[in-house]
């Protein structure tokens, strides 16, 4: 009957935790409303596909092909050619100052090459510090330019593949698109709520004085831990459902991979997060300290996980730090599964790392757990 683990005792702790969760209306509402709010807020803020971005064209010749390409680009609505400059240096200055987002260079031999069918080239430099904006504009480029040329030359010569479009994404080589952002947002939102909620699990008991009673009764550390974190797995599951549904309905995010695989990965990730929060609560002495530790963890994990900035664009040491955050590994899994349709074998390693976090955090939390009030 005693032993280190009993389902009856765990059940007692779970029931108690659920009742408390339900009674704490504000927190409960926050757990459901905040993710949705954040998704809509950030999703739209990042998802905007701005048109008429200021652009400059470096056109050394004013032949009819050049004019055709430029006007075709303008018609897409993405580009607004405010500046026509003569030299590349002039264009570079405009871009560095932020006056233009694109710099389109059409070489002087462009017309000649089109006529000779000799791989005409257009160079587009994009300020990718705002990558979501730049990517929409760039993606239309090839077809637009090619069909413009085709029309202009009255032949079918200029197939899209014939024009070589060289795109230089400046300042941000990876070029995150909004599709990249929304799945990542799921990870960030989960991390925020799960870690924060569980980080005060034990400190709240201590501050309310109920810890003394709990410790005086025969609950084992592992039962207390599971009793505290398991309810949040369910909250996490609800959040995942809300965010994924919204991602689909509001943003039309493609969902290529297996739902089962994705949900399993999410489950492991959420489990790691709640255990991380619980570990924090075994270290902090007050709720205030717990929240401070949580935020101390949040910022680097968001900045270095590859959510905000392309992971591979960071220096090695930063990548090493990034590897210690579950979010980093989760982002790889969810982007691979959701956007690229990856199979389990492709994400097995990263999923394994997430599972390792579960074990590590549990071990740390159980070692740190104080069975006494010392």
């Amino acid at each position: 009957m005693s032993g280190l683990f009993s389902f009856t005792r765990l059940g007692a702790l779970l029931v108690k935790e659920f009742i408390q969760m339900r009674r704490d209306r504000i927190t409960f509402a926050m757990m459901l409303a905040v993710p949705l709010m954040q998704l809509v807020l950030f999703g739209y803020a990042i998802n905007n596909d701005p048109k008429a971005l200021p652009a400059a064209v470096v056109a050394t010749s004013q032949d009819r092909y050049t004019r055709a390409v430029i006007s075709a680009l303008e018609i897409t609505g993405y580009y607004r050619f405010d500046h026509v400059v003569r030299t590349v240096e002039e264009g570079e200055r405009l871009m560095a100052s932020g006056a233009v987002v694109f710099l389109v260079t059409i070489p002087s031999d462009f017309a000649r090459r089109v006529d000779r069918d000799d791989d005409p080239t257009i160079l587009i430099e994009a300020d990718a510090t705002d990558p979501a904006a730049a990517s929409g504009a760039i993606s239309t480029l090839g077809t637009v330019a090619a069909s413009a040329l085709a029309r202009e030359s009255g032949t079918v010569n200029a197939r899209p593949s014939d024009i070589e479009i060289v795109v230089h994404r400046r300042y941000n080589p990876e070029g995150i698109s909004q599709y990249n952002i929304v799945p990542g947002l799921l990870g960030v939102i989960l991390q925020m709520t799960m870690v924060m909620m569980t980080s005060i699990a034990l400190t709240r008991e201590s501050e309310r004085g109920t810890m003394e009673n709990l410790l005086a009764m025969p609950a084992s550390p592992i039962e207390i831990m599971l009793g505290k974190v398991l309810p949040y797995l369910i909250v996490g599951a609800v959040q995942v459902a809300v965010v994924l549904t919204a991602a689909r309905l509001l943003f039309g995010i493609p969902f290529i991979g297996s739902v089962g695989l994705l949900l399993s990965a999410v489950l492991i990730f959420v489990f790691a997060l709640v255990l991380l929060g619980y570990t924090i609560s075994t270290i902090a002495r007050t709720q205030m300290q717990a929240l401070q530790l949580t935020f101390f963890f949040f910022l680097p994990s968001i900045l270095l996980s590859g959510f905000m900035f392309p992971f591979r664009g960071m220096p090695d040491w930063a990548q090493w730090i990034g590897e210690v955050f579950p979010l980093t590994h989760f982002l790889r899994v969810i982007r691979a599964v959701m956007l690229k349709g990856a199979e389990f074998s492709a994400v097995a390693f990263e999923t394994g790392i997430l599972a390792a976090f579960v074990l590590i955090y549990s071990a740390v939390a159980l070692t740190r757990f104080r069975r006494t009030l010392d």
Binding site: S2, A12, K16, T210, E212, M217, L373
Partner: protein
């Protein structure tokens, strides 16, 4: 078998010795009162006895289990009622009791909860939030929760603080009923009348156990002389006696004055001029437990200086 047998318990917090070499024995079925001023180390001692604090030195057995190595077993058979209400205020009475019943794996939990609610007359309040209960009801609920698993030892830490006299009376009646069934009780308290309802008492001051025994023994061992002064102009007499040699306490009790000292001869000499006054009577009186405790407290203060 003794329910509690601890020796040389020491607890320090940041270099300050809060419990200093405390030894205590409580026989099975006994009600022992644990007395001492605020901050003297009662709570700390009780916490060490139920495994909530690790002693820095000392050892002992509680219910036959080793204090240091068998804390889990001790916890299962001890009911500990904390000084501060430490059940869940955002749970109802019934939910709190059900939580406790399941944690102790009482089966069926529901039946145990029903019985506890009935025995304590709380069936009609079962759905009330524990946080909205008055002091007396909180205390009853806490007691009900603490004895639900039929512990063999009950540790009560100032259970009646902030509870009205009638509720206190009922509470003590309940304690005596439980003890009659064989439960051992160690109860800390501030109230003299409660001390007198215990089979034995122990008095702790600044972490040191300085007296223990029955109330009669403790009073006798204190070796105090007490005189009762009655008559006119007691306020002036009190003022004149305060600084007199041999006088350690002067306290008005209704229309009389209690004068207490440990040096009987000196006390009598100082009282002679008072007795000689017109209309003033000085009689030898009985030393009360309160006189003894006040004596303990002032002595301890002197030692600290």
């Amino acid at each position: 078998m003794n329910a509690i047998e601890v020796a040389g318990l020491v607890k320090r917090f940041g270099g300050k010795t809060v419990v200093d070499n405390v030894s205590m024995t409580v026989a099975g079925g006994e009600i022992v009162g644990f007395l001492g001023p605020n901050g003297s180390g009662k709570t700390t001692t009780i916490r060490m006895m139920c495994g909530l604090l690790t002693p820095d030195a000392g050892q002992g057995r509680v219910l036959g289990y080793d204090l240091l190595r068998e804390a889990r077993k001790i916890k299962r058979e001890v009911g500990y009622m904390t000084q501060r209400f430490s059940f869940y205020e955002d749970l109802t009475i019934e939910e709190n009791l059900a939580f406790v019943a399941r944690l102790y794996e009482l089966a069926p939990a529901k039946a145990h909860v029903e019985r506890a609610l009935e025995e304590l007359g709380m069936t009609s309040r079962r759905r009330q939030m524990a946080g909205t209960l008055s002091g007396g009801w909180k205390q009853r609920m806490a007691l009900a929760a603490c004895i639900m698993h039929k512990p063999r030892l009950l540790l009560l830490d100032e259970p009646t603080a902030g509870v009205d006299p009638q509720a206190r009376r009922e509470f003590w009646d309940e304690i005596h009923r439980l003890a009659a069934d064989g439960l051992t009780v160690l109860v800390s308290t501030h109230y003299m009348d409660e001390a007198e309802r215990c089979h034995r008492i122990s008095y702790i001051s600044y972490g040191k156990l300085i007296a223990s025994g029955t109330v009669v023994e403790v009073v006798r061992d204190a070796k105090l002389a007490t005189y009762v002064v009655s008559g006119a102009d007691l306020a002036a007499i009190a003022a004149s006696l305060k600084a007199a040699p041999g006088v350690e306490q002067v306290a008005p009790f209704g229309a009389t004055l209690h004068v207490v000292g440990s040096d009987r001869a000196a006390l009598e000499r100082s009282l002679e001029p008072v007795a000689a006054r017109d209309g003033v009577r000085v009689q030898e009186g009985e030393t009360s437990l309160e006189d003894v405790f006040i004596q303990f407290m002032s002595r301890a203060e002197d030692n600290m200086r």
